[in-house]
Symmetry: D2
Subunit: 361 residues, 4 copies
C-alpha cells in the first residue's frame, strides 16, 4: 500500500512539493527493451506546461525532465528500458523566494490547506506544497512512458465543456484539438470559450470544465472482475487528479435515464468475421473488461479555488479572516487537465496490459 | 494485488459464483474485541435480499450469512472479533437446475458474457457466474462488519433518481427511506416511481437509477494524498459495483458549471470554537482528506441488461442471433444498489480509519 | 496488504481456526482453462494429514477439501479453472468438545499464546486457534493448485535432519521418500530416526528438524530484483510456516566459510549449445533471478512446543504456573512440514511465473 | 506490487544503477512531525561508505545524501517530516569513465550478469548496474529515517563470523563494535580477522561472513499472523540484501537439534510485576508476534564474487571464456552488510509499528 503510488505491474510513485528543489516519479515494472529517451517524454510535458496561453497560469517552468535510471544504450545504439525502475525528475526552477507569511497560517477555501493541517499538524504552505497541481507533471511523464508500452493503442483527450458551455458533439474533429489553447475538438466552441474565459480571467474568477479521454485500439479482454475492473481503475485514476469531482464511463450518468433497450450495445459480425458492437453506450467496457471498442471516460474539474474575490475563512490559530488568493493561477484548471487525463488513462492501460498478460499469457 | 479484493488495512476478498454452492468473503485486518454476531450482519443482508417487493428480482434466497472464523466468545460471554480473518459464507439455495443450453453459447448484450469469454476463453454462464450482482451480497456482509469498526459514523443511502425521474431535494426525509420499496427519501417520488416502474416491469423493460450515499460523523483528517485520496477510493468502490457507470463527489459534474466564488465552501468558527464550513459543495473532502463535513457520493446505475425485448447479438461460435433474456430480473437494479453503496462507503471508511491511525496515531 | 495473504499474481488468502467450523483459502489470479478437480488437491492433502504414522499427531481429520468456486466444466467435459477466485474449504471434524478451562488462561511456553494475547487482548485458545499448524493444510491445498499452473516444474521435499541426526547426502534417493514415514531420501537415516523418535515420543519430548525443498525445471529468468527476489520470496514463504526458525538457499550458511573461488558456479556451454553451470552452490538463483539450475531451499523447524514435561509459565492474569501440554501432538513437527514446504515453493513459483510473464511477455 | 519496494505503511522504493547519474529512494507513509535533517541520515551513510579501511572496496564515494521532499521547517524552526513522500538522493560521483568493453559481454560467475541478461535481454553492465551492492546505500538512508520513527528501540548489528572464524560469544562487547573496521563485538576476533583478511585480500580472493542484528526495546505485540509475521518480514528483508544466502531468527538452525524442553523459553513474573522470559531461544518472536525480548536475526553473506582468480564462464554470445574480475572490490562484503542489516531491521520494525497501530490503536 502506498498513498503516493498507483498501478500494480506498471507502478508509478510520485514525490515532491510545488516549491521544493524538485519533483519526480519512479516507474517500476516497465518491460525491458522499449526505446525511451528524454525527448519521448518531453513532448508530453510541454503540452501540460504552464504559461502556454493567457488561459493558463503564468508561472514559468521549463519542466525539463531527466531520466536518472532504468535505461541503457543497447548494442544498436538506441537507449532502451532495462526492466529496472525508471526514475524521472524535474527540477523546480521558478520557486520565487517570496514572502509566504500571509498564506502560512491561513486556510484558502477550496484548497487542501485546512485538511492537510487537520491530518498532519504541519503542511508545506509554499504554493500548495504536495497538494499543488504541479504534482500532475509527473503523471504526464509517467504517462509518456506508459504510451511506449502500449503499442497500437491511441489515447487522446479533449475539453468538452468550460463552465456551462459544452461543445457541439457534431463538430468533433480531433485535428482541431491542437489548433486552440483549450484542446477543444470543436473549433467554434474554442472561439466562444476564448471570449468567455477572458471575461472570467479579468474578473479574477474561475470556472470548471469537463474533460473526455478516449483510448482506441484496446483489444477485448483487458481488465478484470471484481475490484480490478478496468473502469474502476480508470475512475480512481481520474478522481485522483486535483480538483476532479466526478467520473463517467460511456453513457455515464445519462445511463440512469435510459431503458435497457436503448442502453444495450447490440452485436453483429463484421465483414472480416469479427464481433462488432453497433453502438458504444458502455464506453468499451462490460463487467470491468474491455470489449474492443474505444474506452470513453469523462471527468468533471471544479473551478480553480484560487480567485481574487475574498472568501471567508479561518487561520490555523482559529481566527476568522477573509482570504483572497493573489498570484498566478489558471482561470480554468480543466484545460491543463487534458494531458493529465490522457496520461492517467495510459498508465491504467499499461498496467492492465501487463496484468492481463500475467494471468492469461 | 488482487482482482477480487479491496481495501488495505480493512481488506475484503470476495469469491463465488451466482449458481455455485456458495458465495463468501474474507475480511482481513479487522481490529479485535469488536462485538460481532451473525445477527449484526443479517439485518443488512435482508435489506439487499431479492424478492422483497415486486420491483426487484423474484429470485428467492434467504441469504443467511454464517461466520466461519475470526470471532470468539470473550470472558464476558460476548462474541467478539479476534483480529484474525473473518470468513463469511452464504450458501446458494435457489440454484434452479434448469436448462442452460440456450444461454450457454449466447452473449447477452450489456452483460459481461462477451468480455469474460474474450478474456478467459471459458465462463460460468449459469446466472452470470462471477459477474452476477449476487456477488454484492458479500459486499453488504463486509460493510456490516465495517460499520462495527466505525464508531460514531452514520452511513445512509437513498435512491434519488429512477429513469429520468429525480426526487425533489426539498422533500428529503431520511425517515421515509424505510417506508417504501425504493429507499426513497421523498415519499412522493416513491409513489410516482411505483407506478412508473410497474409500467417498465410489465413491458419487460428496465431503467437506470442514481444512488446517493452520505456518511456523517467522519472526523477531519481521514484520507491521504495523492493516490490514496478518500474520494479516489470512494469512486473506485462505487464504480466497482455492477452496472455503475458514473460517480460524483459533492457537487460532482455540476461543479464544472460553477465559478470559483460559488463553489468555494467558506469557513467560520462555530459556537463552540470549532471550524465550521458554511456550505458543503466539496462533499466533505478537500485534497483527498475529509474536512469533517458529511461525505456525499452519488453513482449512476445503468438499466438492467436483462430485458424481454430481443436484441441483436452473436454466439460464442460467431453466429448472429437475437437474444431475449427470460427469467427473474430487477426492472431497476439501482434499487438494490442502495445497501450495496452504503456497504462500500463503510468499507472504504473503515480502511481509511485504520490507515489514518497507522500513520498518525 | 494483508497479514493472511501471500503472493501477488497468484495470491493466496487463508482463514480459519483449528477448532472453528472450517478452515479455507481463496486463490486469486489463477490462470483460466487449467484442469482442476478436488482429487487433484486431495492427494497432497493426504500427505500432510495427521495420524498417518505413530510419529505424527494422532488427531484424526479426513481433511476433505471442497472447491466452492472458480471452476466450471468446459465443453470437453473437463472441470477447469475459470480465472475467477478459487475458494477451497476443509471442514473441521475432529473438534473434540473437551474442557478448555485449563488451557484457557495459561500461556503454553513456545506457543503463540502469550503474544496473541499481548497483541489482540483476546485469543481463540482452542487448539491454538489461528496459530495452529492446522492452517498449513490450506497452504498444501493452494500448493496443489499452484503445481497445476507450473507445467514442467517438479517440486519435491525431503527431511534431511531430525534432531541432531542428518542424512548421509551420498544416500540420497528420491524414490525412498515415499517409503518411510519421514519423507527421508536416505533409507538408513529413516531407520535410525524411527528408533530415535520412538524414544522421544515415549519421553513425551520433541525434537526439531531440517527440511529441504528442490524445484527442478524452472527456466532461467524468473524472479526479480531487488525486493522481489525469488530467494527473498522463498525465504519469506518458508519462514512463515509454523515453527520455522531459519531458511537457507543453496550453500546457505556454509557459504560464509567459503572463498570466492570455491563458491563460484562456473559456466560452460553444454552439448546442445546451452549454458550449463558446473556446480550449484547458488541454489539456482543469482541476483534474485533463477539461472535454470534446480532451486534449493532448506529450513529449520524447532521442536514441537507441546511436551509432557512441565515448564514454567504464567497465566493471563499474571500468576506464575507450571504448564504441561497434554493431548495429541507431533514429536517432530518437521515431518509434516515437508509437504508444506513443497506447497510454499509451488505457490512462490506460480506467482513468479505469472509476474515474469506480465513484465516480459 | 513492486519489485523495488518493501514495507507497507512505512514503504521504501529504491531506484538507480551503480554507474548512472544517481541512486535514490522514496519513503512513503512516514508519520509527520518527526525531526529529520540530512545530518541525521548522513551518519549512517558514512558507516556503510566504501573505502573506510583496507578491508573494503577502495571505490571513493562521499555518498552525500540529499532530502528532496517530505520535510518542512516547522514553527519552532526545526525541520520535520510532513507525512508526504520523502525523496532521498545520492549522486554518483565516482563513475570512472573506463572501458567496459571487456566486461560488457562476459558473465562474471557468481554475479547476476547471466540472469539479468536471461530475464531482460539487456543489462547495465557498468559496475553491476542495478544489481550492484551500491543499491544498499539507499536502504541505509531509509533505515536512518525508520530509526527516527522508532522511539525507544535500539538496533545494533555486529559481524560474528568471517570465513570459518567465529567470534567468541563470551567476549561480546557492544562498545568494541566501533573500535575495529569489522563491526566486531569481540576485540580479539577483530585482531585475528585483520591478519586473516589481509591474506585473503593479497591473494585476490574473498570470504563470506555472518552478521547478527539485534533490536532491543520492541514491545510485545508487534507483528501479525500468518504471512505478515515479524520474523517472516525480517527474513525477507535480510535475504533481499545482496549476497545473502541464509537467515536465522533466535536459535535458528540450531533449534533443529534441540528438544522441546531445551528450546522452550520459560516465563516468570519479574520484580515489577511484568512477564519475563527466562531465556530467548525464540529470538523475541512467537507465532510471528514480538514477545518483548530482543529480536535476534542472523544472516550469512557469501564471499564476494569478484576475485582475481580466473573462473570459467561464457559470453553473451555463447562463447566459453575465462573471467577474472579486476577492479576495486571488498575481500569480505559481509563487513559493509552490517549497517545494511541494521537498516533493514529498522525499516521492518517501523512498518510493523505502524501496522500494529493501524489495527490495534
Amino acid at each position: 500500500m502506498s498513498h503516493n503510488s498507483f498501478g500494480h505491474l506498471f507502478r508509478v510513485t510520485t514525490w515532491g512539493e510545488s516549491h521544493g528543489p524538485a519533483i519526480g516519479c519512479v516507474i517500476d515494472g516497465c518491460p525491458p527493451l522499449i526505446p525511451l529517451s528524454e525527448a519521448d517524454i518531453q513532448g508530453f510535458m510541454d503540452k501540460r506546461k504552464p504559461g502556454q496561453s493567457r488561459f493558463t497560469t503564468q508561472r514559468r517552468e521549463p519542466d525539463q525532465v531527466k531520466i536518472l535510471s532504468g535505461v541503457m544504450v543497447d548494442d544498436d545504439g538506441v537507449q532502451k528500458t532495462t526492466g529496472t525502475p525508471i526514475s524521472l525528475m524535474v527540477e523546480n526552477t521558478d520557486q520565487r523566494s517570496k514572502d509566504y507569511s500571509e498564506i502560512k497560517d491561513r486556510f484558502r477555501p477550496g484548497h487542501a490547506d485546512f485538511t492537510y493541517n487537520a491530518k498532519y499538524g504541519i503542511r508545506d504552505y509554499r504554493g500548495g506544497g504536495r497538494s499543488s497541481a504541479r504534482e500532475t507533471a509527473m503523471r504526464v511523464a509517467a504517462g509518456a512512458v506508459a504510451r511506449r508500452v502500449l503499442q497500437g493503442v491511441t489515447i487522446r483527450g479533449a475539453l468538452v465543456q468550460v463552465g456551462p458551455h459544452k461543445i457541439a458533439r457534431e463538430n468533433w474533429d480531433w485535428a482541431e484539438v491542437d489548433n486552440n489553447p483549450f484542446f477543444s475538438p470543436d473549433a467554434k466552441a474554442a472561439e466562444f470559450w476564448a471570449e468567455y474565459l477572458d471575461g472570467v480571467r479579468k474578473a479574477g474568477s474561475s470556472v470548471g470544465a469537463v474533460v473526455e479521454v478516449i483510448a482506441e485500439g484496446v483489444p477485448s479482454g483487458w481488465g478484470a472482475p471484481i475490484y480490478g475492473k478496468l473502469d474502476t481503475d480508470i475512475a480512481a485514476a481520474m478522481m485522483s487528479i486535483n480538483a476532479v469531482k466526478g467520473v463517467e464511463i460511456g453513457n455515464g450518468f445519462d445511463a440512469a435515464s435510459l431503458t435497457g433497450e436503448d442502453n444495450a450495445d447490440e452485436i453483429r459480425i463484421d465483414d472480416v468475421g469479427q464481433p462488432m458492437f453497433l453502438t458504444n453506450h458502455s464506453g468499451g467496457v462490460l463487467g470491468g473488461i474491455s470489449n474492443g471498442d474505444p474506452l470513453v471516460a469523462r471527468f468533471a474539474v471544479k473551478p480553480t479555488s484560487s480567485i481574487l474575490t475574498e472568501r471567508k475563512s479561518i487561520t490555523r490559530q482559529g481566527e476568522e479572516v477573509d482570504v483572497m488568493t493573489k498570484g498566478r493561477h489558471d482561470p480554468c484548471v480543466g484545460i491543463r487537465a487534458v494531458p493529465v487525463g490522457e496520461a492517467m488513462m495510459a498508465c491504467v492501460l499499461a498496467d492492465h496490459f501487463l496484468r492481463h498478460r500475467g494471468q492469461i499469457g
